[in-house]
Every structure is written in structure tokens, then in C-alpha cells.
């Protein structure tokens, strides 16, 4: 028998990872069990169920397709041009992750809404007005959020083409597009499209604010309406199961295609190229200018309208802000602890599955399941904030895990043997080796989770009463009451707090001890 002492004794105890995996499995598969127990299938799917499924899939597909189509020229321009502010622009493209959805929607309404810039211009010219509500609005918001992600991921593909190949192509006068760029796009685009499709399947806040009605209701929105307005738990549970099936199918597909990863670095390379003069230059300038307008104009409007609206915000917004901060901090700490505990299992199958499972289980499904589970015992509204913190932590877990697991592997590869030889195991290894060397990714992951939780408008809408409002929920209610100026003021506060929280954690990870 082979004796392998180092394989027998793990350097860090495995029980925290087991607890974390158990908690995540409860939150995902446990809530799935709860909804499947409560779901009513008599008569199969109703006509409105089918309509919701159709809308959900169609809008996600359209959003993914449009994001990609728009991203390709932008990514190409960034890949082959060097200009001032290029780095800033690429960094800014990473920002949507920490931008609260509802804040962006205020900005989009200010540009594309009824009284927005676009319609003011159209009416001044005597042209018919456009509506931001319904299918086109949902898709527009999704493109706003996912175009930057698509640009970053596709740009990665572009920058991965070796510089020598461009040189060879130039010397042979080969068409670069056909022989170098098209094969790259064919390899990269399917994964990017699936990732965006998956994100759009579960984006509740966009559908809540810009969708609605029989023609523009997503499955998640239908869950919310069934539970919140009709108090029909059986229907909500049935819809939650449908949502799970849709997401699990998409996540399964994504698994097969292997999703691209935003490495977050290496963007500063510009490959020297010999094509791209003349018309191509015009094309690149147009692509970059278009993307900048689409991304920056709404954000600028948030700031402009927000400053104007600051005087109109209701008194009790500060207690909502405190609640939001508390939920975000608790959720972020929980999320990074879970991610760390799972990462410490180093390649354990159950840990790996637990870390990606929240991608398949939507926030509203988890929320519905928890609602059904606690309902017989306690008023769900009493648990609104803890449940929100927990579900938000689960939702951010896949991203946090992806930041931590490779970092841990790197630490162990570099210093594992030295630590082993010194007998640094368990808490000593964590305190003197792993935590100090993981500060950066830990700070980043915690900041990301905090910002995501801060801006979340999902589970909270399912559970909370008016005395437990978080900032996004308060904003949503102001918008529902047509107090758009006050909502814009709150949006500015929410934006500042989200970005501030992210910055604080991320910065904390970078600061030298």
C-alpha cells in the first residue's frame, strides 16, 4: 500500500467547508425542495405561465444577442487603438457589477423615459415618441448592463491573439478579419453569450421596473406578483420551479461551453497592427463614442438629477440607508467566509458544486422557498433583513469563490511546503499564511458582495414591509409614486454608498499592513 503522509493530513480542517457547503445546499436545493412540495401542477402550465416563460427566454436571448453585436466593434476598437483614457474606459466597463440596477434604471429613464432627453428631442422635432417600458426597455437595460461585460470578455479574446500572427498576416497581406479575428470570435462568443443569457434570465429588478403587464412579465416577476399581491403560494411555488428549470438548463449548457473569465488584468496590451486605416478608423471612433454615450450619459443623468433631488428625499431615508448598510456588510462578510471555507476544501467536488449552484437557483426562487419554509412559524416580514442578507450572500458566492479559489491555489503552490515543514496547520496556517496573503482577493470579493447586496432589489421586495425598507426598495416605492426627483436623490445616495462600500473593502485588501 502506498504511504503518503502529506495526503493523509490536510493542512486546514475540512469542517468549515462542510458547514458552508451544507448551508449553501440548504439555501439552494433546500428551498427547491420547499417549492416543489408546495407547487400545484393541476392542469399543467397556465397560459400566463407560458407567456412568462416565453418572455423570460426571449428577452434574455435578445439581450445577449444585442449585447454581443454591439460589443464586437467596441472590443475591436479597444484592441487595436491606443488613446488617452483607454485604461479608464476599460476599468469603467467593469463597474456595472457594483452599480445597483435600480440606480441605472433611473439614469436610463432620464435618457430614454417619457420625459427623458431622447423623447424631448423627438417631440421637438415633431417625431413620434418611444416608450422605454415593455420588451424594448427590458432589453435596453440589459444591454446597458451586459455590453460592458461582453466588451471586456471579447477584448480578452482579441488580446490573446499572438502579435506574431498579425505580423505574419500583414506580410502575406492576409485578411486579418477572416483568418485571425473570426476564428477567435467563434471560440469566444458562445460562452460570453451564454453568460449574459444566464444573467438576464434572473434579473428581477429590471423586469420589476420596466416590465409588467401580460406582455412583459418574466417568471421572476410573476413569482413576486403571485406571492405579494395574490398571496398565492401554490402558484408562486410552481413558477419558482419553472424558473429553476430554466436557469439550471442554461447553467448546464454554460457548464458544457466553459464560461469565459474576466481575468481583470492584462488589458494594457495593444497589439501593433497594419490594418485599420481609413474607413476602419471612422468605424472604431463611432463604436467607442457610441458605447461611451450609452454608458456614461445615463450615469451622468443620475448624478445631475440626483443632486437636484437631494433636497426632496424623505426623512426616513437615512434609516433605510442604515438598514441597507447593515444588510450589505453582514451579507458580504457571510459571502466571503463561505467562499473562503469552500475554497479551503481545495478542489472538493461538493465544495465546487456548492460554489456554482447559486447561479442556477435564482434569488426569487430561494426567497419563495424560504418564505414557504418560515411561513407556518413566523411572519416572513420579521425575517426580511436576515433572509435578504443570506440570499444576497449566496448570490454573490460564485463570484467570490472565483476570486478566492485560484488565489489559494497560488499561495499553496508557493508556500505550502515551507508551511508544512514548519508544522503550520489549522488556525496557525490560516492566520500566518493564508489570510495575510489573501487580503487582496478577499477585499475585492467582500467589496463586490457588499455592493451587490447593497443594490439588490429582489428578495427584499418579496419579504419586507414598509418599515423594513432598504434603499433600493425605498427608491422603487418613490418611483411607483411618481416622485422621480426624490427617487433620483436616493439613487445618488445609494450609488455613493455602493461604490464607497466596494472601495472601502477593496482598498482595505490592498493597504499594506
Amino acid at each position: 500500500m502506498a504511504s503518503s503522509p502529506n495526503a493523509v493530513t490536510p493542512s486546514v480542517p475540512r469542517w468549515p467547508g462542510a458547514i458552508a457547503a451544507g448551508l449553501v445546499l440548504c439555501l439552494t436545493l433546500g428551498t427547491l425542495a420547499a417549492v416543489s412540495f408546495r407547487a400545484e401542477w393541476s392542469g399543467g402550465l397556465s397560459a400566463s405561465d407560458w407567456a412568462a416563460v416565453r418572455f423570460t427566454v426571449l428577452q434574455a436571448a435578445a439581450s445577449a444577442a444585442l449585447s454581443i453585436i454591439a460589443a464586437i466593434p467596441v472590443a475591436r476598437a479597444l484592441a487595436r487603438r491606443r488613446f488617452r483614457g483607454r485604461g479608464v474606459l476599460i476599468t469603467l466597463m467593469g463597474a456595472p457589477f457594483i452599480l445597483p440596477v435600480i440606480v441605472a434604471i433611473i439614469g436610463l429613464l432620464a435618457v430614454f423615459g417619457r420625459g427623458g432627453l431622447l423623447n424631448s428631442a423627438l417631440s421637438a422635432l415633431g417625431l413620434p415618441l418611444v416608450s422605454i417600458y415593455g420588451f424594448q426597455g427590458v432589453v435596453l437595460a440589459h444591454v446597458f448592463f451586459n455590453l460592458p461585460l461582453a466588451v471586456r470578455l471579447i477584448l480578452h479574446g482579441w488580446l490573446a491573439i499572438p502579435a506574431e500572427q498579425f505580423r505574419v498576416a500583414a506580410s502575406l497581406n492576409m485578411p486579418v478579419g477572416r483568418y485571425l479575428e473570426w476564428p477567435m470570435l467563434r471560440a469566444v462568443v458562445p460562452g460570453v453569450a451564454l453568460a449574459i443569457f444566464l444573467i438576464c434570465l434572473t434579473s428581477f429588478a429590471v423586469a420589476l421596473t420596466l416590465g409588467g403587464g401580460p406582455k412583459a412579465t418574466t417568471v421572476e416577476l410573476a413569482i413576486y406578483q403571485a406571492l405579494r399581491f395574490e398571496f398565492d403560494m401554490a402558484t408562486a411555488a410552481r413558477l419558482a420551479m419553472i424558473q429553476f428549470v430554466i436557469c439550471a438548463t442554461a447553467a448546464g449548457l454554460a457548464w458544457l461551453v466553459t464560461l469565459p473569465q474576466d481575468a481583470g488584468a492584462g488589458f494594457d496590451r495593444v497589439v501593433q497592427r497594419w490594418d485599420g486605416a481609413g474607413l476602419a478608423l471612422v468605424w472604431d471612433v463611432l463604436a467607442l463614442a457610441g458605447a461611451m454615450v450609452l454608458l456614461l450619459l445615463p450615469l451622468g443623468m443620475v448624478v445631475q438629477r440626483g443632486i437636484a433631488g437631494l433636497t426632496l428625499i424623505p426623512e426616513d431615508i437615512w434609516s433605510a440607508a442604515l438598514r441597507s448598510l447593515a444588510v450589505a456588510v453582514v451579507s458580504a462578510l457571510l459571502c466571503s467566509s463561505l467562499a473562503l471555507a469552500l475554497a479551503l476544501r481545495r478542489g472538493g467536488v461538493l465544495a465546487g458544486i456548492s460554489a456554482v449552484l447559486p447561479l442556477a437557483a435564482s434569488g426569487l426562487m430561494m426567497g419563495t422557498g424560504l418564505f414557504i419554509m418560515v411561513w407556518p412559524f413566523v411572519d416572513p416580514a420579521k425575517l426580511a433583513l436576515p433572509v435578504t442578507a443570506m440570499v444576497n450572500a449566496a448570490m454573490a458566492l460564485p463570484f467570490a469563490y472565483r476570486a478566492l479559489a485560484p488565489a489559494l491555489e497560488q499561495i499553496e503552490a508557493g508556500f505550502g511546503r515551507t508551511a508544512d515543514s514548519l508544522g503550520m496547520t489549522g488556525a496557525a496556517r490560516l492566520r500566518w499564511l493564508i489570510l495575510p496573503r489573501m487580503r487582496r482577493p478577499l477585499g475585492f470579493a467582500t467589496g463586490l458582495a457588499a455592493a451587490m447586496s447593497m443594490g439588490d432589489l429582489g428578495v427584499i421586495a418579496l419579504f419586507a414591509r414598509s418599515d423594513q425598507e432598504t434603499l433600493p426598495l425605498a427608491m422603487f416605492q418613490l418611483m411607483g409614486a411618481y416622485q422621480m426627483e426624490a427617487a433620483a436623490g436616493v439613487a445618488l445616495i445609494l450609488l455613493t454608498l455602493s461604490v464607497g462600500l466596494f472601495w472601502l473593502f477593496d482598498r482595505g485588501g490592498r493597504a499594506d499592513a
Binding site: P5, N6, R417, D420, L422, M424, W432, R437
Partner: protein, 235 residues
């Protein structure tokens, strides 16, 4: 001298690579491991330290079977080619880890660290991070941890290889002199016959899947008849 370290019928298998060893190392001796690149010198050291799983065989330390002991509980200190110091900890903390992996140290231990720093020419540098030290000073600090650990067997896997030739020699001499003072047994990997001649009493030749029993250095390095003659003849 009695045998300190004994490798009994050791067999290591890594894919198609195998290494057999059946040998003993004397107490208080300095032994060099030599042989062609890729022959398994570091693998042998890793097996003694507990990092390389054994297909069969046992490792004894003064008759105690340590085959199943995890690396940190073996009576040895090991220095690798790199990453011996933790960059986020101070030099004093790095040295202190040799005594306590939890860094639970009392006043006497901290002053012992100061003494070691002084002895190695690093006086006053305890509060610095490794990156604030030169390469030679970093090597001294790593050696300081071995001194602090006071474990009876010391394994060196070419920790000074990245230093220039002069500095490498100086560090090796410092290591030998400070360790032999405490009567520690030393096993080191080296490529350099001069190093072996200067400091090692014996040489373990590792080649063609086998680690041979230690030979007196002169005999092992004999260019005409020694087992390394092919290797040594290479330019």
C-alpha cells in the same frame, strides 16, 4: 558514528519515474546529494521531509519509524530553492516560526531571535520584511529559522543557488559552521563538486533510478573511477 537517518527499501514512483533508496546517513555528518539533473535529488530530499509519497519502504530516525509523520512533525528543517521566507511577515516572525508554528513566543524566545540575528550579521533587521533585505541577507534569515528550530536534521535543497558564486560559498560555509556547532546532521543537494569537496564528508549519488549509499567524498568525486565520472566529465 551511529546512523541517524535510515532509508529502508524506499521506492518512489511518479508516473514512469522511479527512485529506489536503501541507505543510512551518519549522525552529525555533512552529506551531499549529487547526480545528473532530473535524476531525483530533490525527490529524495522531499521523501525524507515527507512531501513525496512512498510506494514502499520506511524512514527511520534513530530507530524511530517516521514514515507516517506529517512534514511538520519530523525531526528536521528543510530549506527550498525559493519561498523559504513569508514575504508578509517580518524577519523576526519568519525566524520565530521555526520554534512555534503559531508564533506563540515569550520574551526569552524573542531575545533568542535577536541573538541569532546578531550572529548572522542581521542585527536590527528583525522588524523588516524580506523584500527590504538583499538576497544574501534573506538567505541568512532563512538559515536563522533553521537555527531557531533546533531540529537535529537539516535538509538543504540548494537554497543558495540563486546567489552569485562567491556569496553562495560564503552562505554554505556559514550554514555548515553554525549548524555543526549544534551537532546537527546535514544533507544537501548540490551541483557543484567544489561545494561537496569543501564541506561534505560523504556523497550520495543519485542516478538512473537509484540513490546509492554514501561514499566518502574523495572516492565519489574521483573523475577516473567514481560513480559520477560521466557526469563530472561534462563541461
Amino acid at each position: 558514528m551511529p546512523d541517524a537517518l535510515q532509508l529502508e527499501q524506499l521506492l518512489i514512483r511518479q508516473g514512469s519515474f522511479t527512485l529506489a533508496a536503501d541507505l543510512a546517513v551518519q549522525s552529525g555528518s555533512v552529506t551531499a546529494i549529487m547526480g545528473p539533473s532530473g535524476g531525483g535529488k530533490s525527490t529524495l530530499l522531499g521523501a525524507v521531509a515527507g512531501f513525496v509519497p512512498l510506494e514502499r519502504g520506511r524512514v527511520f530516525w534513530y530507530g524511530d519509524d517516521i514514515t507516517q509523520s506529517p512534514p511538520g512533525q519530523r525531526p528536521l528543517s528543510i530549506l527550498f530553492q525559493d519561498n523559504n521566507l513569508f514575504p508578509h511577515l517580518t524577519i523576526a516572525q519568519n525566524i520565530g516560526l521555526g520554534r512555534s508554528p503559531r508564533l506563540k513566543l515569550g520574551t526569552p524566545e524573542w531575545s533568542e531571535i535577536d541573538t541569532i540575528l546578531e550572529r548572522l550579521g542581521l542585527a536590527g533587521m528583525g522588524k523588516r520584511k524580506p523584500s527590504e533585505l538583499s538576497g544574501g541577507q534573506q538567505s541568512r534569515a532563512a538559515l536563522g529559522r533553521v537555527l531557531m528550530a533546533r531540529r537535529p536534521l537539516v535538509l538543504l535543497d540548494e537554497p543558495f543557488a540563486a546567489l552569485g558564486p562567491g556569496l553562495k560559498q560564503e552562505m554554505l560555509d556559514l550554514a555548515i559552521s553554525s549548524l555543526s556547532e549544534a551537532g546537527q546532521t546535514l544533507v544537501m543537494v548540490t551541483h557543484d563538486p567544489d561545494d561537496a569537496r569543501r564541506v561534505a564528508g560523504n556523497v550520495i549519488v543519485v542516478a538512473e533510478g537509484k540513490a546509492h549509499a554514501p561514499l566518502p567524498t574523495g572516492q565519489a568525486l574521483d573523475g577516473a573511477t567514481g560513480p559520477l565520472r560521466g557526469y563530472l566529465a561534462q563541461p
